[in-house]
């Protein structure tokens, strides 16, 4: 009996202690919840501790005084209820505390994870996949190229540290390149042996003509991470968010996560958001990654694709976008694309709309494993408005090729996904969903907003709730989406010697968006409303993320003659191009058995050439064409000697005959049909040199169900000066082979041999 009494007492005491401890823990978490006002935190903590105290006293009293009644056998009904009730409250209170504490811990940890005061830079040394350089040690006496921005952490400083640590700097030749494409081109061409570059370099090149195979053509031999404190102008003060502010949202395609879990990679998707917490208005501007703008960290501030601002790190991207719209951007948020997938799944999907008129079968795009050697899946996004999962949302946001509107439409689709996410977040319900969202956010978001600032966003929500009591709150906050409108241009880059795609923004488009941004940030005065009109017959339509054309002259970017992609050309067309540009050429015939051979292509089909497409034609010394030569058509009938012979009357004529060879140059023993005609078209048996005449000797050979003909002209003239030899006439070969004449360089065929066939003339 005594033991049972003690056990019961101990149990009750333990519960009491747990109640107190859990309350203390919850109070501690609330105290650290910086987003709440201090006085509010104090009040909440006091309540928690007070309730804990009451619960503690009650259970203690229970432990000390009521036991004897229960164990006496005279079970007092009321006391049993009291015991059960007290225990129930105590346990419930413990559970509530633990739940609240765990939620706050989760929230706190997530916000602290994503709020960074330092940035991780990952630099690499890259070589061609087939290079003999396997490690850094093999770089001795080699040439290493780098992007000529020595302040760039990932593209110079960090990779350089790799060699510095090994004391190899003096053993290599470092060569600067003004342009990324020029740098990579030099590596591809073998002008240099290796390059310094960001470890996430592939996303910069995978859409550039000539480098689309970069994932398989190059490899990293060494990487290094450096963590640096961010020069943060953010004070971290919650009060800063009570006034209009701007945030740059950057979607990164992280291929190599850093060791400390921070996001690395180039920002491929850019959105500038300005928030006016006083007016409850937000505008979000989508900036296509290929937008042609001055780059803030380039010494000469020359224009380039905005995505290339990554060379100068996050700061450069932020400053470049800020310069575009004439503002200082206050904060940034980086989001890993994988995170987008996780976030959408955590929200249970988002709504997107695929124009059913333009794409009746919907859209199809590769999933995020598109460069995985193991293969990738195709993701289908149905036409119409549908709720899509994370993978679909990511594919929808990434899709570029096959869209009517190209880069602009892509940006509009990304905006649609963001809008979908915001809508789902605003209607977020269910604790499990909140936890999933926090999980997704924690792993894949990064920002220079402080944890306190992020938690203070609740005030925004409360303000809206307070003001809109009884009203629909969904339209209490206005979110406007804008798109940087521009036009597509292929601009020749002298530095990289290739034609590159750029998206050139309309000047008036930038001005228009700048005005809206400045209005929302309170940098310019808003207009007092002075007129309103509306008609039910012309319903209001709010256009979001619209592309606008502007009445302004589009910039002209003259393109010098470039080397075209000649795949599909005929041999004669390719030769004509070479001749037009005064470029010596040769032909590499591709026959069956050659790995490049493609069955079903016609004879003379140009597969390609050995020059870089869209490189400057004037810089080409010579060009080699790869041309299909089909075996069954490759027999060659040639005439021995001149195709036109001129003789004086009385001279003796000896017909030299023909040669007929197969594709390998072996003589084919075959008897041709010979027909001789005079200049009246009459068939004759011999060539007579007794009078002026012009004879045509035509040879016809049938081989493999094909007929080959070739002819020679024999001109008999009076005894006068023999005219200079007429240029060789094209033999009248009927098969579909292009004649093998007029090369400036001999093709790789066997030399002419003496005929085995002589005509019987």
């Amino acid at each position: 009996m005594l033991n049972k009494k003690n056990t019961f007492k101990t149990t009750i005491l333990i519960f009491s202690l747990i109640t107190i401890l859990s309350s203390i823990y919850t109070s501690f978490k609330i105290w650290n919840y910086g987003g709440l006002d201090t006085i509010l935190r104090i009040i909440i903590i006091m309540i928690i501790l007070l309730v804990a105290l009451i619960s503690f006293v009650a259970t203690l009293k229970l432990a000390l005084s009521k036991v004897k009644y229960i164990y006496k056998g005279k079970v007092k009904y009321k006391r049993v209820i009291k015991v059960v009730f007290t225990m129930f409250l105590s346990i419930s209170y413990i559970i509530i505390n633990l739940f609240a504490a765990s939620f706050l811990t989760k929230l706190d940890d997530t916000l602290n994870d994503i709020s960074v005061s330092e940035e991780t830079y990952v630099g690499a040394i890259v070589v061609m996949e087939d290079s003999l350089i396997k490690s850094v040690d093999d770089l001795k006496d080699k040439k290493i190229g780098f992007f000529d921005m020595k302040e760039s952490m990932e593209n110079y400083i960090v990779p350089n540290l790799i060699l510095q640590d090994l004391e190899m700097i003096d053993q290599v030749s470092l060569l600067p390149y003004e342009d990324f494409n020029f740098l990579m081109g030099a590596l591809y061409d073998g002008d240099i042996d290796a390059i310094y570059i960001s470890a996430s370099y592939t996303s910069m090149f995978e859409n550039v003509e000539g480098f689309k195979d970069i994932n398989t053509k190059t490899r990293i031999i060494e990487t290094r991470e450096e963590v640096m404190k961010i020069e943060n102008t953010n004070t971290g003060s919650v009060d800063d968010l009570q006034e209009p502010f701007s945030v740059l949202l950057m979607g990164v395609d992280e291929k190599l996560p850093s060791k400390n879990g921070q996001l690395t990679g180039n920002s491929d998707a850019l959105f500038l958001a300005t928030v006016n917490p006083v007016n409850f208005t937000v505008n979000i501007t989508s900036i296509p990654r290929d937008t042609y703008v001055p780059i803030a960290c380039y010494g000469d501030k020359r224009r380039d694709k905005i995505t290339h601002a990554n060379a100068g790190g996050t700061d450069c991207v932020v400053e470049t976008v800020g310069d575009m719209f004439g503002i200082d951007i206050d904060y940034y948020i980086k989001l890993n694309f994988t995170g987008l997938e996780d976030l959408v799944d955590a929200l249970g999907g988002v709504y997107v709309t695929v124009d059913a008129d333009k794409y009746p079968d919907g859209l199809v795009e590769q999933n995020s494993n598109r460069f995985d050697e193991k293969g990738h899946d195709w993701i289908h996004i149905p036409a119409g408005t549908n709720k899509v999962d994370g993978e679909q949302a990511l594919s929808f946001a990434r899709k570029r090729y096959g869209l009517d509107g190209g880069a602009t439409e892509r940006a509009a689709n990304q905006t649609m996904v963001i809008n979908g996410i915001i809508n789902e977040l605003m209607s977020l319900s269910g604790v499990s969903k909140i936890y999933d969202v926090l999980d997704a956010v924690g792993k894949n978001f990064q920002t220079n907003l402080s944890a306190e600032q992020m938690t203070s966003f609740y005030k925004f929500g409360i303000e809206i709730l307070q003001r809109s009591k009884g009203l629909n709150i969904n339209d209490a906050m206005i979110i406007d989406y804008y798109l940087v409108s521009g036009y597509d241009r292929d601009i020749y880059s002298e530095n990289s010697n290739r034609l590159l795609y750029y998206y050139v923004p309309y000047v008036k488009g930038i001005e228009s968006i700048t005005e809206k941004i400045h209005l929302n940030l309170g940098l310019i005065e808003y207009k007092i409303p002075n007129y309103y009109s509306y008609s039910v017959f012309y319903p209001y339509v709010k256009e979001q993320a619209q592309f606008y054309s502007y009445d302004e002259d589009e910039e002209d970017f003259p393109v010098p003659p470039l080397v075209p992609n000649m795949k599909g050309y005929l041999q004669s067309e390719a030769i004509a191009w070479a001749n037009k540009n005064s470029i010596p050429y040769s032909i590499n015939y591709i026959e069956a058995g050659n790995p490049k051979y493609v069955d079903g292509l016609e004879n003379g089909y140009v597969l390609g050439h050995n020059q870089v497409v869209d490189s400057l034609a004037s810089k080409v010394d010579s060009i080699v064409f790869d041309i299909i030569k089909n075996v069954e058509d490759s027999a060659l009938l040639t005439i021995n000697g001149e195709s036109t012979i001129t003789l004086k009357i009385g001279e003796t004529y000896t017909e030299k005959g023909i040669q007929f060879k197969d594709s390998k140059g072996n003589n084919i023993d075959i008897i041709p049909k010979i027909k001789i005609t005079d200049d009246n078209g009459n068939t004759v048996d011999t060539i007579s040199t007794q009078s002026e005449n012009t004879f045509t000797v035509m040879y016809t050979v049938k081989y493999n169900d094909k007929e080959y003909t070739i002819s020679r002209k024999v001109v008999i003239i009076k005894n006068e000066v023999v005219p200079s030899p007429t240029p060789s006439i094209e033999p009248t070969i009927e098969p579909t082979i292009e004649p093998t004449i007029e090369p400036t360089e001999q093709p790789t065929s066997e030399p002419v041999v003496t005929p085995s066939i002589t005509p019987d003339i």
Binding site: L40, I528, P529, F537
Partner: protein, 208 residues
């Protein structure tokens, strides 16, 4: 004696703890409730929900101005007499103007005045239009000038009105005045409003 002393001590202890805890709890709850619900910057009307009216298909906002109350009473009387009369049409238009163009009793941009005078099918779109234009900067104006210094319509006059019986459409031309306010520049003081006749009464279809 000692037993009594013990009991007395127990009772006092319990009562004191409960009493003190109760007082603190109630105070705290009241404090948090007031802080949570009170607005930091300006006045927040206790209730902005529309008062439902049983005699008309329209309604009066619960924080209507005196003038709005007055106009609405006239509308109710006119509607009772003849819901499709010219007088009723004029009063619908006047009520709309008094509500829509009075900004002093609005606290948030989606609290659009006069939405109840538009046919229900078109209300959402009308609200969308007003939120993104006339009411777009409401909160900023409240922040800059204070609600009490925003315009309040004090009188609305009908300049002309007529009925296009073939279209079952009324056209009403109105002018109105405001009390003193701090909005710089000219603000709207006249409009033409068109109303269509429906089964339940007249609703606005166009304002320009």
């Amino acid at each position: 004696m000692s037993k009594d002393k013990k009991n007395t001590v127990k009772i006092n202890y319990k009562n004191i703890v409960i009493l003190v805890a109760g007082i603190i709890l109630i105070s705290a709850v009241l404090f948090i409730g007031v802080k949570f619900l009170s607005n930091n910057g300006g006045e927040v009307p206790k209730d902005v929900i529309q008062k439902e009216s049983s005699t008309t298909p329209y309604s009066l906002r619960s924080n209507a101005t005196d003038y709005q109350n007055e106009l609405y009473k006239l509308l109710e009387d006119s509607y009772k007499n003849d819901k499709n009369s010219l007088e009723t049409a004029e009063l619908v238009a006047m009520n709309f103007v008094a509500d829509f163009y009075t900004l002093s009793n609005k606290t948030i941009k989606n609290d659009i005045g006069g939405a109840q005078f538009w046919y229900p099918d078109y209300r959402l779109n009308f609200r969308d239009s007003a939120i993104n234009s006339y009411y777009f900067n409401l909160e900023t104006m409240i922040d800059d000038f204070g609600s009490e210094n925003l315009p309040t319509v004090t009188s609305v006059n009908v300049v002309s009105s007529n009925l296009n019986s073939s279209k079952q459409e009324y056209s009403i031309k109105l002018e109105w005045t405001y009390d003193e306010h701090e909005l710089a520049g000219e603000i709207q003081t006249s409009a033409s409003i068109y109303l269509l006749v429906y089964d339940t009464g007249m609703f606005i279809s166009v304002i320009n």
